[in-house]
Subunit: 428 residues, 3 copies
Amino acid sequence: MTKSMYELAKELFPICRSLTGEGNRQTLRILQREIPELNIHEVPSGTDVFDWTIPAEWNIEDAYVENEAGVRVIDFKKTNLSVVGYSYPMDEWMELDELKKIVFTLEEQPDVIPYVTSYYNPRSGFCMSYNELNKLPQGRYHAVIKSKFIEDGSLTYGDVIIPGETEDEIFFSTYICHPSMCNDQLSGPVMLAALIEYIRGLKHRHYTYRITFAPETIGAIAYLSENLQHMKAHVKAGYNVACVGDDRTYTYLASRYGNTLADKLAVNVLKFHYPGFKSCDFMKRGSDERQYCAPGVDIPLASIARSKFHDYPEYHTSADNLDCISQKGLEGALDVYKQIVDAMEYNWYYQVTTICEPRLGKRGLYPTVSKKGVYDEIQSMINLIAYADGTNDLIDISNIIDVPIKELIPIVEKLEENGLIKRTSTNI
Amino acid sequence: MTKSMYELAKELFPICRSLTGEGNRQTLRILQREIPELNIHEVPSGTDVFDWTIPAEWNIEDAYVENEAGVRVIDFKKTNLSVVGYSYPMDEWMELDELKKIVFTLEEQPDVIPYVTSYYNPRSGFCMSYNELNKLPQGRYHAVIKSKFIEDGSLTYGDVIIPGETEDEIFFSTYICHPSMCNDQLSGPVMLAALIEYIRGLKHRHYTYRITFAPETIGAIAYLSENLQHMKAHVKAGYNVACVGDDRTYTYLASRYGNTLADKLAVNVLKFHYPGFKSCDFMKRGSDERQYCAPGVDIPLASIARSKFHDYPEYHTSADNLDCISQKGLEGALDVYKQIVDAMEYNWYYQVTTICEPRLGKRGLYPTVSKKGVYDEIQSMINLIAYADGTNDLIDISNIIDVPIKELIPIVEKLEENGLIKRTSTNI
Amino acid sequence: MTKSMYELAKELFPICRSLTGEGNRQTLRILQREIPELNIHEVPSGTDVFDWTIPAEWNIEDAYVENEAGVRVIDFKKTNLSVVGYSYPMDEWMELDELKKIVFTLEEQPDVIPYVTSYYNPRSGFCMSYNELNKLPQGRYHAVIKSKFIEDGSLTYGDVIIPGETEDEIFFSTYICHPSMCNDQLSGPVMLAALIEYIRGLKHRHYTYRITFAPETIGAIAYLSENLQHMKAHVKAGYNVACVGDDRTYTYLASRYGNTLADKLAVNVLKFHYPGFKSCDFMKRGSDERQYCAPGVDIPLASIARSKFHDYPEYHTSADNLDCISQKGLEGALDVYKQIVDAMEYNWYYQVTTICEPRLGKRGLYPTVSKKGVYDEIQSMINLIAYADGTNDLIDISNIIDVPIKELIPIVEKLEENGLIKRTSTNI
């Protein structure tokens, strides 16, 4: 990467993203600079994707409300959260009372601008902090939205394929449809950019990696409408990557039944990485797991976030800004996702090659004096061997013997070198 | 019904019921007035029913103990609990010491008359409160029991069949063999009379409903000896209905393994209706679930009671009288059983008809502005759809998404109307 | 037995046992006096047993460290823990500093001599209490070990086969390789001697009993190398018997997955015998369960101990002496293992022979008056019948109805006599 994750988020912050439009293309082109493998795709407006239809492309040039003195009291140029996403164009003078009907505020958090969209219903609207709105004096106001709907436009998304030794895939998904917000928008793409760099550098890559950057919901549905059969056949584990930039906690969000390989691995990695992590069932979903885990889709996909959407006060407001995330927060999430990748690459079923315990001593793997205390030091190796009975993958072994996979990987390598364990199959 | 459940219990209260006899016929005839579908059956004394034999019919005209002055100190006419059930006739003068040998009391509850029977062992006896017995002065007493055993008599029971669209059955069982007691006797028959009225009025009735009113144990065994094969083939869920008239708590009593559809539904309904309900395993059984859930019978039957037999102080004493139950208590139980019936009628496996989430908005089922807070309102519908994957019945969905079935039924109807879910099979 | 378990331990205490050698033979010959069925076997040094090789036989005549005045400051004749097991012979004068390099102590327990061995690495060493070592004045010391390695020697073990009606086996294993220690050495062999006496006296013996007395690890591996296929085919439950002599607690140590018949029975017996028993998973293993439960061996074997190895302060020190165990402690363990044997002999799947509950009264098995309180008395019988449905073995029934197997055995006998239950199969 040419810059840190945080600096990349800073660069992407001002862009006005939505379901469609130039902001999304601009975002993907910046990401493409960091991720050369990134392919950018367009899906024409009007295309039917399962139960949905790709909407007209929406672009916006400016939006504001000015008072009779020509002073802007709401200004899209200052923050693109000021306008309701997918607003229709307008140019109208009105009294304060009229204005209030088209301005959304958030009374419970009176100092922040809420994030509001109206994708599938014709509407023009603004967003403002509750306190600012209430400070406006009576008078006439000029409400202007310079937006444009392009019926023969398209929806834009990006994807990356990093081939491995097999067609079996690990899948990561993130979205690119929120305007200027950080934890719930930019953290996902920038962390994935860094993770892709890591994956690219792996010496051995059993799995092929698929990473998507698409608008939430309609983008994921569009992507699935093009790739469902392939993904159902090949994706062994997937993660929806969102809200990975703050530094408060870690959150696991389960798949529909919490019983996929992706779930099992996420829980394993998190319980060692951050034992107090929050665990949410599928009732708490809200991002593209809604599509990837839908009945009939059934991609084995879970989510690992820092403070998950809905669960932090800045969520979907102007407070989810560059102060809400940090390089440290992003690096914490990146570390977890690297562990996920490493664990997947080593997650085979292992089988010990001896009957009874092997004699580690003759291979230089055992201390030569048996004495109280010394024994504990090679306990992980002995325990790994005890459960390398062909019925456990490495995650199972880690769970049973209560040792993180990252500590087991060097032991696995040593035992394989000595011919004491062998892989019986992948985890499938 | 011509009167409330409570008023019906009041009418039935004075009748002396037992395993057999006129009191049982009189009870069933009164119930027949309220339940025109009720059929009354007789099983001749001496009939072998599995390991048991129908006993001689027992009738009793009067019983008392009078002192030398001719004053009745025990009087069957005042309460039929005064005589041990199935007592042999007697007419004997005796000293107080002799009398005490044939009078049962309950020292722990010294003011109440215990309920005692001696069905299968020849015996004559009386019941009295411990305090009253101890007040009796020395002297001679005249103990009289005017009972009669009819060797060619019969055992009497009633049943009701309300046909549905299929031969699959929902089964309710209650007993009619206890004399003047309310929660542990009359509550079951009167509540079932009201439930039958409700079932009769259902617009759609997928299931056939079978309801029995029989003496406990021997009556259930007799009923099974006549209906076992049919019931094994057709009963999908059943409930033994007893002790449903007080207003203190709710109790779930499990089937032998607690794993039948009847158990699953009972727990689901109760956890929403009365979260603090008591849950008992089969060790706590004591009524006809002993037969219906016996090995080789294996009817899928659980029980939902208010204060269950053995679990309330008035149980099997003269204190289980008309003060122990109330119309409100009966209505609470009736509400639960109505929910059971409604849930069974809607308890199919459902399958969503779209791939990915359906677009609810285009069917008018989704709010048009996405804003913090609004989202929760249709969460139940979205969650129901997420788990309508053909592997869950409606009870499963209710448990997973934590919404009562009674709230899901209107959503199911709406989704079915919109063609978004379809039934894949019944719950079998 | 010619003497109590404790007295037998006292007789065996002074002998110097190890992986091999005369001390082991002497130990087995004393046991043979108490257990006539005991067979003594020799496995030649150099024999390959799976991944291991039988080591040269080790014998030791004397070992000591004397000061310049010829006073022994370490003396094997006083306690055989003074020398590191499998020490090479030596005869050398050295300064105190040199001496300290070959003397092992235990600083955390400064008054006891630690138990140290060096089986597979050439070494000569002594053991001493930390405090004693630190009292030694500067000066020259004479370190002498009169040990001998016999390359064409052998490893010695004993086993006992007590035939039953079938070839199905119950297996008990203990070890004989520790020098003068009691809970972690002598308790196992002496308690098994008493258990064998009990098994010999059983009227009916469905199972064949196999009991081994072998050096830990290499002895068990040697035994398995000779008997693996037979044992895999026939052993239905086994127990490694170690540390059964103190009187502080009871400990259950699980098999690899804790899911064998041996585990199920151990937990059942202990939960009634000593509800506060300690439960350890296979991570806490340390004796021959390491071999018997290894992948590919998979003998269904658990352990029941009093204070388990590693879990009591005297473990592997000179404090694990005759004060650490007691006849009472040994008898507690013996009682548990007798219950294990009895339960196995009765552990069939039972099937009630009637449909609905049987009428116990006509067989004299039920009280003739039904009255509050009386009912509880035969509850165990009724509950046993309810779960005698052919899907539960006696352990399952005991667990479900919460009654110890030793109380169920007489009920089983009574019900079998009355033809009310029958055995459907063994527990296999």
